[in-house]
Every structure is written in C-alpha cells, then in structure tokens.
Subunit: 154 residues, 2 copies
DNA sequence: ACATCTGTAACCACCGCGATTACACAACCT
DNA sequence: AGGTTGTGTAATCGCGGTGGTTACAGATGT
C-alpha cells in the first residue's frame, strides 16, 4: 500500500473537524493538503459514500463532517478509502502439479486475512478526535479560503 | 502494498522447507511459483541477506533453508522482502500555513507506526512451519526439476 | 576443460496513482 | 431568469514501481 489516499482522507477530515458546521470547499481543502481540488473531491466522494461527510453543491457550497469526531474511527476511514486488501497474491496461478503450488494460496489467504484484521483493528482504536486533538493546539487556520492562484509548495 | 514479493517468498521457503537438505535450483522454484528464474533469484538474494536461506553456486547448485521452519517467523520474511513501510504519507509537503498541515504528518506518523507494528506482530505469530504444515498433507512433489540432470530424491 | 547454475545489470510492458484539464450539472443570489 | 460559484466525473498525462525477459560474467562440481 503505497497510496497516500488514506493520509489525505485523514487530513481532510481533520480540517473539517476543526471547522465544525462551516462548509469548506474542495479548493480550500486542496490548499491545506497542497494538491489539486479534483483529488480532494475524489476522496470526498468516497467519504460521502461511507457516510462520514456531507457535501452541499452550488454556490457557497462546501463539505462538513457528518458525525462527531470521536465517533469516527480511523478504521472506518481506512475502509472507506482503501477498499482493496493490503496484500497481493500470485499474479499467475502457481503450478498446480506441485503440492506447494496447489495449497499455498489457501494458506497465504488465511495469513493475509489475519494480518489485515490486525491492521484494521489497530486503526479502529484511534478516532478522528485523537488526530484533531494532536493538531488542534494551535489557533484556527487563517486564510484557508480564497486561494486565487495555484502555486507550488512554499 | 500491492507487491506479491511476500507471497513469492513464502512460497519459495515452503518449497525449500519440504526439500530439507536437498538443494533446489531457481529454475525448479520458478516452475512451482510459475514465474521466471530471475524473479526467484532476486527474492532469494533478499532471503540470503536476512540469513533465512543459503545458496550454493556452480554446477549442481541450489538453495536450501538455513534454519528450522518453526524458527522462521513470517514477520522475518516480511521484513526481509518488504523493507518499505506499508503506509504512504503526503508526497508533497502540506501547507505549513495551515495548522492542520503543520501537525498532521506527526500525528499520522504515530498512527502509521502503530498500525505497522500491529501488522508485523500478527505476521510474527505465524512461522514457516505453520505454512508447511498446511501444505504438506500431500505427497512430495514429483518432477520439480526441469532438466534431466542430477536426480535427487524429492 | 566443460557443463551447470547463480548474481546482476539492462530493458521492456504494464499498472496504479496523483495531477491536470475540461465540461455538465446543481444551488444560491440578485 | 440569468449569472456565479462550486461539485461530480470523465479523459488524459507523467511518473514510479513491479514482474518478466534476455544477456552475460563468475563460480563450482565433474
């Protein structure tokens, strides 16, 4: 799993948690994450499907968090954004004439399932509130809105 | 982590565990995994560096397992073969003018480390002997060797 | 010497991902 | 209604990683 979608999703939710009821546009979120608004909207769409976020369209629109931050576990966020399993198996079928090749996939499947389970349980023990707390010591973000030009990282 | 190197590595070690002291060539292993011998040798090189396997070069060469199967945990195999962490972070630096952007990486780092730890511990609880046991119910593999060279009781 | 097999470099094709552009649609405002 | 703003989504591009393949030097037993 080399994707950073999960990191982006947690970042987005952390910003939304800080803003509470105030809607935040994808462009503003893109400004904080430092990426393109479309990338944000793609992740936002996944979070909507999972019921973690609600988005209002049209003028003066924006997204807001759909639940209390302490009721959103990072395990949920992970599953919302990374539906594929973290482990890959043989791309080609192993040699069925070899007894190892015949049975290895089943054996590996059990191991992978156990590891995936452990991973998700570890994530499930943390909530978005834990993240927001670590981040929230500072003052509210100034000038998240109104990013007229697209500039590279400072 | 979409790579299947870990699956290949476990497969290779399972075959070696079955063959015990008899050396198995990369070509024979490739026949069981159903891939190219070079792919096998690449993984074999990593397993050698980790001290899990010993290889003899030259004519009539081959690889054999370097420890008892019940003393090789899958966590070791995982670390030998997948040195990179399973979680990716922001490819670009987040916006440092946003308090979330400033702190999110540290917060995510802690979470990721915990999840990675849980994953590796889950793998560490299984050994190669567990895999070999699930696989080993059947009879020894016939005709794993491709070329009619040395005939070794398999 | 010879045959065999490993180690490694080099190269290719493919896939997934993030970034970007473009455009249709929705909602709010005057 | 019309204009403005912002979402949803498709299409495309470039990049990096990965498995597959070929090629070749070096090691080693017979």
């Amino acid at each position: 799993m080399a994707s950073c979608r999960f990191a982006f999703a947690v970042h987005i939710l952390a910003v939304l948690a800080r803003h509470g009821a105030g809607g935040v546009t994808s462009q503003a979120l893109a400004g904080s994450v430092n990426t393109n608004p479309v990338v944000i909207r793609r992740i936002l769409a996944q979070l909507q499907r999972a019921g973690l976020v609600s988005t209002q369209k049209g003028a003066g629109a924006g997204s807001r968090i759909a639940r209390q931050p302490d009721e959103i576990s990072l395990g949920e966020v992970y599953r919302a954004v990374e539906p594929a399993p973290a482990f890959g198996v043989h791309p080609q079928q192993p040699n069925q004439r070899c007894c190892v090749g015949r049975e290895i996939q089943r054996a590996l499947g059990e191991v992978f399932a156990g590891a995936q389970e452990a991973l998700e349980q570890a994530l499930a023990r943390r909530t978005l509130a834990d993240i927001a707390e670590k981040v929230g010591a500072a003052e509210p973000t100034p000038s998240l809105r109104a990013r007229p030009t697209k500039r590279k990282a400072s």
